[in-house]
Subunit: 377 residues, 2 copies
């Protein structure tokens, strides 16, 4: 059900004016949920720097859309190709008078999310047909708005994380040598959907054996073997909000080096979570992790990016493994970040990751959902 | 398991030279499967216009990668940020001698997929750090290679479609007023994963009531009502290959207008599939659909794009609802396309879609998996 959040729109408009943007082009479900409180697939909306927002919908959706909103203008299209021309038309009315042929830096700026769910071809197409405006990433407005979470948002992330916990319980119930990652993912998915998961932000990661060293993850149809390390990373969503729970298990008893690897990771996790305080940064946390790795002889295997922001988007600012500059983003109270994003992977021994979500507080990270750290089943 | 397909690489290199590209930058799982026969998440590889391909992997993945390949160069990185600099380094060795400061049209061209899974920010970043090359869509090479399918590919799409059929059977078993779209999607997902689905290309669509008119789809936690039209669209994948099976059901008995809507859609589907012959185009098929709609008084509700290509990507050339020019792509034998992509949606009455996959033959479309068209449960 669409419910326009005028408070957030007003704040976005203030930031747009500050950043010199004439409008925001909304193309992603997360931005749409943030402003309009409804999950829609490939939504299209424009929020001008002043005045009411414009929704662009397919003609046959008019009845359903108009039943939900009053004073917002709805532009309709009857062929997907027309979305782009509708968008151009709306922007023309917004920047009426802007002369054509301006150089990049003098054109009116339009902000758009350019993250993982914004296809490259669509941005190229937008630029081609909207030559009077300069398309820029909307991050300077949206990050500022969305980095800190209100209570209702934290509750939703918590619910999503509790669903991930149910999935991890199922993983522990079924995990044994011989089962395939795919079979495990099937049962985990069923549990999480029954508990309310709308889907996952990333594929379920079940990386076992040599693949426990992978930096990304997936599931395969190969059976898990005795002695394997198994990295499981779950990311179910609830009402659009993301979760992220990762644990690593050993199939049998760890050898000495594996035990050490687990202990070092848990030491990094424990030390890091205490430093989740306003003013601190992911760069600082990474320095701490590096020191711990060096102390235990794993310095060569340390990689940066132990934490990332999480909310309506799976990776939000700070997302330093994607945008290195985010390593310098200063934490604020009520930001929600993970600890345990990076794998500690040592060839031949295996890879380990334990990831949870924390709220930034003056006293350090407050875990959103407490899940055990046991790794021997 | 990585298995380099040298035949496809050689053909790609011929096409690259014809198109004036010095290399292909592989960033997407579908291109990676096509050339290297392995599903990897966010893979990175470069295929130069001549010489062996280069794989770029995370340092801790070296053991696993080197165990699978012999003579291919592997570049390794130990921080995600380094991927981009590794890429730049490889391209430098490929285009050694190309002077800096060339204008766009004179720079050596590098092809890259720019479809839904290629994030806009990554393309902008690539362009920023690889200024000596001109990044262009790889479509002119990849579409040419991938549009027609070999027998092994058709078999995989068939398997994927048979998994979708099992999901649709489950939908029919559970579908009744009172069940929510989410509950239905939970059972469908469980069935499809048990049957081997690796995930779906799109979210499962269960659009009921007013939402049956939606052009895209999702599931909600609202219960399905007596009298609703319910559009169900399933897209499970098998070994990276996509499927697409859509059916529409009525909860109870259709009224006169709903019955007509079903009959018109089935007439469009039946007439269209007969015309899936070499040389024909989606534009022509759309003309046929428009005539049928006009004949029955639904002319205002006809939308273009009844078919789209399908394979390792959910929507491949022809994908005219995204790239209008694809409406003119000429069919060839052994292309695989859907019929039933567009919704026929009439406000107040509802929306209908029946979608299957066909192989183009001289005798018209050969259905890859035969699934009944019944719509009353």
């Amino acid at each position: 059900m669409i419910k326009i959040n005028n408070k957030r729109i007003k704040k976005a408009q203030e930031l747009m004016r500050k950043e010199g943007m004439i409008g925001l082009m909304i193309m992603n479900h997360d931005d749409f949920i943030y402003f309009f409180n409804d999950l829609r697939v490939q939504p299209r909306a424009i929020i001008p720097a002043s005045g009411p927002p414009v929704l662009i919908g397919f003609s046959a959706e008019e009845e359903e859309l108009k039943g939900q909103i009053n004073d917002t203008e709805i532009r309709l299209f009857s062929h997907i190709g027309e979305q782009i021309s509708n968008v151009r038309e709306v922007f023309k009315t917004i920047f009426e008078g802007a002369p054509p042929g301006l150089s990049h830096q003098d054109r009116p700026k339009v902000g758009m999310q350019m993250w993982f769910h914004t296809p490259a071809f669509l941005v190229d197409l937008f630029r081609k047909v909207n030559k009077q405006v300069e398309l820029v990433p909307s991050d300077s407005v949206m990050d500022e708005l969305r980095m800190t979470k209100d209570d209702a948002e934290i509750e939703k992330i918590q619910t999503a994380q509790s669903i991930a916990a149910k999935g991890m319980d199922t993983a522990k119930d079924f995990l044994k040598p011989g089962i395939t990652g795919h079979e495990l993912a099937t049962e985990i998915t069923y549990t999480m959907m029954k508990a309310g998961s709308e889907g996952t932000s990333t594929p379920i990661h079940i990386n076992s054996g040599k693949r426990s060293c992978w930096i990304h993850g997936t599931t395969t149809k190969d059976p898990i073997q005795e002695g394997d390390l198994v990295v499981i990373d779950l990311t179910p969503m609830f009402e659009g909000y993301c979760s992220n729970l990762a644990r690593t298990f050993i199939m049998g008893n760890p050898n000495k080096m594996q035990k050490k690897l687990f202990e070092v990771y848990l030491e990094i996790h424990e030390s890091t979570k205490k430093e989740l305080k306003p003013g601190n940064t992911v760069s600082n946390l990474d320095k701490l992790g590096k020191e711990i790795c060096l102390k235990h002889g794993f310095g060569d295997y340390h990689i940066k990016g132990i934490s990332h922001g999480i909310g309506l988007r799976f990776e939000e600012n700070p997302a330093s493994t994607i945008i290195p500059a985010h390593g310098k983003t200063k934490f604020q109270n009520n930001m929600t970040v993970t600890v345990g994003h990076t794998i500690l992977a040592v060839p031949v021994i295996g890879g380990v990751r334990f990831e949870d979500i924390y709220r930034i507080t003056n006293d350090g990270g407050e875990v959103l959902y407490n899940y055990p750290f046991d790794y021997i089943l």
